[in-house]
Amino acid sequence: MRNNANKSVVIVEKEDNTSLLRCNGAWTLKNITEITSVLQSIFQTTDKKSNINFDISAVDEFDSAGIILLLHTVKIFKVNSNNVNISGVSNSQEKMLAMFRGEEESADTSITKRYFFLNILKTVGKNTVSVLRDIVQFIAFLGESIASLGHYILHPSSIRFKAIIKNIEEAGVRALPIVAVTSFLIGVVIAYQSAVQLEKFGANLFIVDMIAISVTRELAPLITAIVVAGRSGSSYTAQIGVMKITEEIDAMKTMSFDPFRFLVLPRIIALMIAMPLMIFFADIFGICGGMFIAEIKLNLSYAEFINRLQNVLETKHLWVGIIKAPFFAFLIATVGCFRGFQVSYSTESIGRYTTISVVNAIFLVIACDAVFSVFLTELGI
């Protein structure tokens, strides 16, 4: 069976130092794999420096893949210093051969060796350089945002109030439901876990201190920041990325609309205004979550809870949480916009940069929070 198949494609006639390869059938893309394997076995059984003669007069059909294969085979035989000839070429076949021959001969055949160890070094080096370049670019971006913020302050009439309001609605108001639910649940989780422990010591009332301080100082700001990073940070990247691909950004530049003033600053300012309010909102719901569980698990009535809350929750705790908000907002919005501007022309890169933007934003928020923690504790606040 296999022999038959071979025969139908190429018949080999050997004579002294000369092999005549009679090619038959259809040399088309459909049969290429089969023909290739036949040619390969012929290649292995012919001697070096012999004469090879391809006779293609009996080929019924050639397409470009067939011609390319023929030329490629000729080249391989030639590498083995065989003397190769093609005969029985019709007029139209000659034209096709001429078309593809130029390319085959000029194509570089040098084989690039792959060094495993060097490749690792190369990858590490490349990535390091690209991270450094990212950081430099981000600093430049920060500088440019702050410079155009300066422009805003010097020319208050150029502030895009409408865009800011729209962004506050989009990033702030519309995020309230999800912020409320997540912080309420965080309050529930914390209360539940501590209720079990506190009950053992009969220190039921201290659940109020525990919840009030942990929610207002740390949890509400962090949870809000994470929700905002996932929701608004990613959408900033995607929005600006799409505008970059559709050349809207270029169009803006040619009409001398500074993208920083029109796109970046409204987003940063909007988030810096919205975020402190959102954190206060999250504080309320987080504490409510705790109050709810305190009543169920520890039989602490709402009245007792609120009474205690007024004694232990000093305003400074609230301020500690809220003061971080503009910093978080600034980081999330600038990273989101920065990554959006890095999107380059392919639809795939929007997805990639959106992911990177969210990961970066959450990392920066947590790092910033750590700095605040150390700083404020050292100051004794």
């Binding site: 088309t28 893309l29 290429i32 794999t33 290739t36 397409d63 470009s64 893949a65 390319i68 294969l69 490629h72 139209s92 034209k95 096709m96 078309m99 593809f100 130029g102 390319e103 085959e104 194509a107 380059s344 022309y345 392919s346 639809t347 795939e348 890169s349």
Partner: protein, 253 residues
């Protein structure tokens, strides 16, 4: 008689209340370059999309390479799709792949060729459509308009199709580039013997490379045939096309 490659009969296309084709019929022969002409919105692109199974007419029958594409099994449809190549108006190259990957992707997915031989084919096709060799490594966003057209032509021809569909191949090219592209298609057709179906607005293309064409107007085909045959027909649409200022300048040359 020549072999008929595409046969459309009594096609009716309607988008909501908007009747686009009212019983349109046409035939396309093997190895000819067939043009679809007509004013903007006359339904040329829709007709092309119906041939390549992107759009379904309300009624009528369409035969492509002897297959009834309106009642075709999934497997047959897959086979048929490998026998044609399509060049979209905007190129529609995959923006996340390089030119070489764009050209090679169909070979990679639909054949069991080795990667090395696919590279050889891709290189030959890049050369065939007249792209410089360095273009292989570029991404579509880094190409000029003319290079995008050539790269998508190479992608459309990667599988050695029997039919090549082109939607306004020369739009957006300068006259010299358009002329070169026309000659490229003509040369490749002569060399490889595929059938070409092209939507075009470009009178030069009709003059220079189209063998037969049809003119769409009033939801129907108002004329079909070679240039000499069509130009004799008296119909406002045809007069508008060939006897307007742009058409008659060429007549004088």
């Amino acid at each position: 008689m020549k072999n008929i490659v595409i046969n459309m009969k009594d096609i009716v296309t309607r988008f909501g209340d908007n009747l686009v084709h009212d019983r349109v019929s046409l035939t396309i022969n093997e190895a000819e370059i067939y043009g679809l002409l007509g004013g903007s919105g006359s339904g040329k692109s829709s007709l092309l999309k119906e041939m390549i199974m992107l759009l379904r007419p309300q009624s009528g029958s369409i035969q492509v390479l002897g297959k009834d594409v309106l009642n075709i099994s999934l497997i047959e449809a897959e086979e048929l799709k490998q026998k044609w190549g399509v060049l979209f108006q905007s190129g529609a190259l995959f923006s996340s792949l390089t030119v070489a990957e764009n050209i090679g992707i169909a070979l990679k997915e639909h054949t069991d060729l080795t990667k090395d031989f696919i590279d050889v084919i891709v290189r030959a096709k890049i050369n065939m459509v007249g792209l410089p060799r360095y273009a292989a490594k570029l991404y579509p966003a880094e190409l000029s308009g003319g290079m995008v057209k050539r790269a998508s032509l190479a992608r459309a021809l990667a599988m050695d199709p029997k039919i090549l569909f082109l939607d306004e191949p020369t739009s957006g090219l300068d006259p010299v580039g358009a002329e070169e592209f026309d000659q490229l298609i003509l040369g490749l057709r002569d060399l490889l013997g595929f059938t070409v179906v092209m939507v075009t607005h470009d009178l030069d293309s009709i003059w220079n490379i189209v063998d037969r064409f049809c003119v769409l107007g009033d939801h129907k085909i108002v004329a079909q045939g070679t240039l000499d045959e069509v130009i004799k027909i008296n119909h406002p649409v045809i007069e508008g096309f060939f006897k307007g200022a742009r058409g008659s300048i060429r007549g004088r040359m």
